[in-house]
Symmetry: none
């Protein structure tokens, strides 16, 4: 039987404290999730205090989806009123979403001590709310909140709550580990027990508070659940929701289970990156299957092994999830790796060409001095192009000066001057800034702009400083890692020195030189970027 993937990025994922989705974000994400083949997209909790979600359900009605069903989220009716008089159930119906998902209480403690009603009334709240929504919907899904904690506290009552949802004709009953504290063996055992009493199809919804959300989800599937609720990239409140990106790959590659999105898994990395981009969070380089580092090999023995027999050091083919093998350029990596990269730049170069040996020597020396090319492919390329004599430097630095003053009034003033030669012209500029690095950056761009108009569109998106070890800390080697960007994409540069200003300066000069060389087609277009439209 096919597994149904139910995505709640737009609702539970949006509870992540780092995320706050606009209406446009939500619609864009819904389109991407649909395109990828998820079966259900939970759009939000429509109610008068949540106007973005109400608006979302209006807008999404006019979006032509390929496959996914849109679900609106809510709760069972309040105690003591009829469903038709409950404003939140009315808001659900008003959303016109084809699927309504409501949660109810499974844990007796919650019934008596949190919502403070009777155990009997709670059962009726579940049955009557599900039955009422069924009259007005294609499909009703019942989320049994805190089911596992409830089952452990009072199994009979927890099962009765599910029975109530079944009597109300729920299409699927989803067992939730709301607090994220349940162990996978408990999940497996309880799901099996539930199936002896409940014939409605079951789903699973778990959180990652014990670091086990992926395991708990797949154990539930193994035990018989046919729906998995989760969030792309595992965003969510506290420690996050179950990571649907990882679960989808585990279901396909490790458990051989079928689901609608299974045929799209070669776009999994793209899906993950695109959603990260829209929610505006940096991608996790270590993310299973889809991270930049997921198939990065560093140790020399590993690289050697992968080159001989790839499956010897890779659990799946990286291309099956749209990822790629990376040989990390580190001092542990042998020469064969550098030769491979060199061949991409200069096809047909002979391994025994003396330039290969001298390049290897230079890389080794740089790495010993603290250079780290792993996450700075552009720095590596610039080094190779320069080493091969393929670069005519577009400008020459004559000098710079930075003055940093703390005045007796306690005011800080940063000023930088930069003097360059471009052809036979001299460019000498001064700039102030917020700190010495900012002043130097500003003065360098000011000096280059008249000669290289492309500088106008270059942004410095990020820069990070790492202090490497030494005996005297303030005299330690400093590595600066920068991300430059423009309308075409981004590129990373690294700079190393015992002097932080000089390390920044090296990275800035190289980053802007690289842009000029791209613009002049000395280096063929080699931006790093994600293409949202092509998912």
């Amino acid at each position: 039987m096919k597994v149904l993937l139910y995505d709640t990025t737009l609702r539970d994922g949006n509870q992540d404290r780092k995320i706050s989705l606009s209406l446009a974000d939500k619609v864009q994400i819904a389109r991407i999730l649909d395109h990828f083949g998820f079966d259900y997209i939970e759009g939000g909790w429509p109610n008068p205090s949540n106007p973005t979600d109400e608006e979302f359900f209006k807008l999404i009605k006019d979006v032509k989806l390929k496959h996914a069903k849109i679900a609106a989220f809510g709760s069972t009716r309040r105690p003591g009123i009829l469903p038709e008089n409950d404003p939140l159930l009315q808001a659900l119906i008003k959303s016109e979403a084809p699927v309504k998902t409501i949660f109810g209480k499974s844990w007796d403690l919650h019934v008596t001590d949190v919502i403070r009603t009777t155990l009997e009334e709670n059962l009726d709240m579940i049955e009557s709310s599900v039955a009422y929504l069924k009259e007005h919907s294609e499909e009703v899904i019942y989320d049994a909140e805190h089911f596992f904690d409830g089952y452990k506290a009072n199994p009979e009552y927890a099962l009765e709550t599910l029975k109530a949802a079944e009597l109300g004709h729920a299409d699927c009953i989803v067992l939730c580990d709301t607090n994220g504290g349940t162990m996978p063996w408990e999940i497996e055992e309880i799901v099996k027990k539930v199936q002896t009493r409940i014939s409605t199809p079951l789903g699973i919804h778990v959180h990652n508070d014990s670091g086990l959300a992926v395991a708990n989800s797949i154990y539930a599937v193994k035990a018989g659940c046919v729906m998995v609720q989760g969030v792309v990239n595992g965003y969510g409140e506290r420690c996050g929701n179950a990571n649907l990106t990882t679960i989808a790959a585990d279901l396909k590659f490790k458990m051989d289970r079928d689901f609608a999105a299974a045929k799209k898994l070669s776009h999994l990395r793209q899906l993950s990156g695109n959603i990260d981009q829209i929610v505006n969070l940096p991608s996790d380089v270590h993310a299973p299957y889809v991270g930049d580092a997921a198939f990065a090999h560093k140790g020399g023995a590993h690289i050697d092994g992968v080159m001989k027999v790839s499956r010897s050091f890779e659990h799946i083919d990286p291309h099956s999830v749209g990822n790629d093998r990376v040989f990390v350029t580190s001092d542990q990596a042998g020469g064969s790796l550098v030769v491979e990269k060199l061949k991409a730049i200069k096809p047909g170069i002979d391994k025994k060409d003396p330039v290969v040996a001298s390049l290897l020597k230079e890389i080794k020396e740089r790495e010993n001095a603290g250079w780290h090319f792993d996450s700075a492919e552009a720095s590596f390329k610039l080094l190779v192009y320069r080493h091969l004599g393929m670069v005519k430097e577009p400008f020459k630095v004559l000098n710079y000066r930075v003055i940093e003053d703390k005045t007796p009034q306690g005011v800080s003033v940063s000023q930088a001057t930069v003097k360059l030669q471009v052809g036979d012209k001299i460019s000498h500029q001064v700039s102030e800034g917020d700190g010495p690095v900012n002043a130097l950056d500003a003065a360098l761009r000011k000096a280059l702009l008249p000669f290289f108009p492309c500088m106008g569109s270059v942004r410095l998106d990020d820069f990070k400083v790492r202090v490497l070890g030494s005996n005297v800390a303030s005299d330690a080697t400093v590595r600066v890692w920068t991300t430059f960007g423009d309308e075409h994409g981004y590129w990373n540069m690294v700079g190393v020195s015992s002097n932080i200003i000089e390390a920044c300066w090296t990275a800035f000069v190289d980053g802007l030189t690289y842009k000029i060389l791209l613009e002049d087609n000395v280096i063929p277009n080699a931006y790093k970027h994600l293409d949202v439209a092509s998912v």
Copy 2:
């Protein structure tokens, strides 16, 4: 039976492409891991091409550890030679580490196609290497690389390799999921099968490529493994190693298993943050148990529920791992924690004293501006003492200036001047340095030394820079974190500014002020080593 926790942060964790540990970092981490109660600390792979690790084993011999055993890592002998002629085994012995951990091949594919020897020779390589090391060590641990993949491909051969290690008298045999692709139910089943054939105690070492490293580790323990190898915070190559922080908490709170560090779990968050700080990576706010958000409640219903019955929405008590409940919508976040710390400084202070509210407000403002006191207890203390009016500043800064020059000859010159007032005396000094930070540090000490002879013994042991987010990268907020030390211990200071020089300056001035206040007994002896000892 107690579970043994074997930490490999210094070896396998250091394979993380974002991490490159200095010798000083390694020693500092080893001390912290020992204080926390880990049973084994794998220090590195000593061999001539890895001088940092060779040096580490020399240094660590003179460090008095409370509990942990130091392990040196290596591999079985090469094919076709005797163990006594293998340079890597000799390097292991030379390390004088009491425990030697060596890996060998379990997967027939690796034997024949990667290291290209015979299946028989591989068995002898394992047995003879383990036996040889046993003659020269207190304890030998055998890591069965790719064991699960090997078992799935050829169970009989994989078991024979373990038998060889057993015949060599290995003290523990560790089953490795090197490629990270094995499912927890496979781990459980295979560990159980191994125990029918092998009587040596078993361990587990897994990677997170399927998002299941925590689950795989705890299933292995459930099935009978008595040692867990992992890395604090789950750093490591590709998708990381098994996260020992999460595993320790799961073992104690979910499985009720005993281990030496179990009594230290109320310091788990501190451990995690301290190691993040030393490897210079931002802490994962979503990390299970220890993340900033792990017990953060956002939804109104959740907050209401927690206030009524805390276990209704929390799987464990946050204080049991040194974390705290956070209400995201409320300003009272962490308030009770601050009051607790305040009471340690000024016993008997009334919670309702207006100074408590104003201090909380100042801390909140600082944290919003990027200050982070978690790993800078001395900064926090100085802030409190100043806020309570208990500090008379020992000196006053009148001004400073830093000039950074790159000459036309390409030479860098850094010069700093510092002007201070001490009582009614003025001290005005100039110093050159290797970079602006070093020059400023030197000038400040030079200006203070005549008045405060204790400055002569203060070292700046470490300083780390973290760039916090902003729209313009070179104008971003910078957080500087410093470690000062002298013959009595060490203390950490943090400084924040959009100007890197100013951030360093703040940390330097505070760090040296703190030392003067300790010397004058304004602040009672509160060196950091005392805090660490109490972990």
